[in-house]
């Protein structure tokens, strides 16, 4: 039967799934804890840029949609924390690491949402990029993570479509509304491409993650997939993607596109993006100011238990 490690790799190579009680290499477990926790944090922090517009949504219908979307993101965070907990960590510890700035989340949420069109651009581009990645992750070798992704992908489709629909409306509206949509695309395009991470040549974790089938497609391939999918959608809207080097490459069968500003990328990763500080401050404040809700729930449960006794 071979060593534990060989048995583990054989399960992975056979496209079967690793489950929580299986033996797994410590590096595999740590990589998953790190990635799933960051993914969960991203969902939770990702509630803020859109939460910012709930009170200012243009209609009651749009407000209801936005609230449902933000609620989904809370749900996605919870599925993911649950998946992380199957690896023997505690949700409260992970959250504390986030509050102390020791854990990261996707840098995209460190950009501000300045106009209503940003709600459209986030759904279309940010959720679109997330779907590209998460569809891959439904085939991840770790069972609980892959299963959480299946649920999340079903719900993300709503997120992307409602965003794109917002932009269709704006692009068919007044010149000012169309300009607002273009401005949102101008600001969100490059950060969305950055969401796929460093180039494959600079990606430190990728090789091992591919071998373990945590990651199935490289950063650059996913980024290309996203660009190819998104360019025609921008054309349909009549919007211009802010990249002078963007053009169809007949030979490759893909769009060529310009270089990402990697200096900006690393600056935001390191904590100096426009909103890094505010996001964590807000998250920590919400947790602290919500303490009474948790205490009340605990007290209420205790009261019910006493009455039932």
């Amino acid at each position: 039967m071979g060593t534990s490690e060989e048995r583990f790799q054989a399960i992975v190579d056979a496209e079967s799934k690793i489950e929580p009680t299986d033996w797994m290499p410590e590096g595999y477990r740590k990589t998953l804890v790190r990635q799933i926790a960051q993914h969960a944090h991203s969902e939770i922090i990702g509630m803020q840029p859109e939460g910012n517009w709930i009170t200012r949504a243009p209609t009651l219908h749009r407000k209801a949609i936005l609230m449902a979307k933000v609620q989904d993101e809370a749900g996605h965070g919870l599925y993911l924390y649950s998946a992380a907990e199957t690896l023997g960590v505690k949700r409260d510890d992970l959250q504390e690491l986030l509050h102390r700035g020791k854990h990261k989340y996707s840098s995209i949420f460190n950009y501000p949402t300045l106009s209503w069109a940003d709600m459209g651009a986030i759904g279309w581009l940010v959720d679109g990029a997330a779907i590209t990645n998460q569809v891959m992750l439904t085939r991840c070798s770790y069972g609980p993570y892959a299963r959480a992704m299946v649920r999340i992908c079903k719900e993300e489709s709503f997120h992307q479509r409602q965003g794109y629909e917002i932009l269709i409306r704006l692009c068919n509206g007044t010149p000012e509304q169309k300009a607002m949509a273009q401005d949102a695309l101008d600001r969100w395009w490059w950060p969305s491409l950055m969401m796929f991470g460093p180039n494959d040549s600079d990606s430190t974790h990728s090789e091992q993650s591919m071998l373990w089938k945590i990651k199935r497609v490289s950063n650059d391939d996913l980024r290309q997939q996203f660009v190819d999918m998104t360019v025609p959608q921008a054309e349909f809207l009549g919007l211009e993607i802010p990249d002078s080097e963007l053009r169809w490459n007949e030979e490759r069968g893909h769009y060529d596109f310009g270089e990402i500003d990697w200096e900006e990328f690393w600056r935001v990763v390191k904590g100096d993006g426009p909103m890094n500080r505010e996001r964590i401050e807000h998250k920590t404040r919400a947790w602290e100011e919500g303490a009474w809700v948790r205490e009340a729930a605990t007290a209420h449960a205790a009261k019910r238990a006493r009455r039932a006794a």
Binding site: R34, S42, S82, E85, K90, D93, A129, R151, M195
Partner: protein
């Protein structure tokens, strides 16, 4: 996109650590949902809650926002028993008695569907 946020050059990666003084969380519950009448409850995930009723209410909000179920069960995770992982193969994967399988019997075609 990737959720593997890179470690910036010169930065130290903090993968995980137990946090002193982090809030003592509520117990964990496993959630089972019956998708529709006529089929069994199926495990769908887990959550934290102070008691069974709150666990049910949270399960409804977290796992059935789009009509995924007509019935929800919650069970304290600590109440679930299982074979030790090393022993599981021995207990639940053994299949040496192939004569238990219907497909191991040769029935002539002319007998028809059986």
């Amino acid at each position: 996109m990737t959720y593997d946020v890179p470690v910036a050059p010169g930065e130290k990666a903090e993968l995980e650590e137990a946090i002193e003084g982090a809030a003592e969380g509520w117990p964990m519950w496993e959630v089972f949902v019956r998708a529709r009448r006529g089929i069994s409850h199926v495990h769908i995930g887990s959550l934290h809650a102070p008691d069974a009723r709150t666990a049910l209410e949270n399960a409804r909000d977290v796992y059935t926002r789009r009509g995924e179920g007509v019935s929800v069960w919650v069970v304290p995770s600590s109440e679930i028993s299982a074979f030790e992982p090393e022993a599981a193969a021995e207990y639940v994967e053994a299949n040496e008695k192939v004569y238990r399988l219907a497909t191991t019997y040769d029935i002539p075609d002319e007998v028809g569907q059986m």
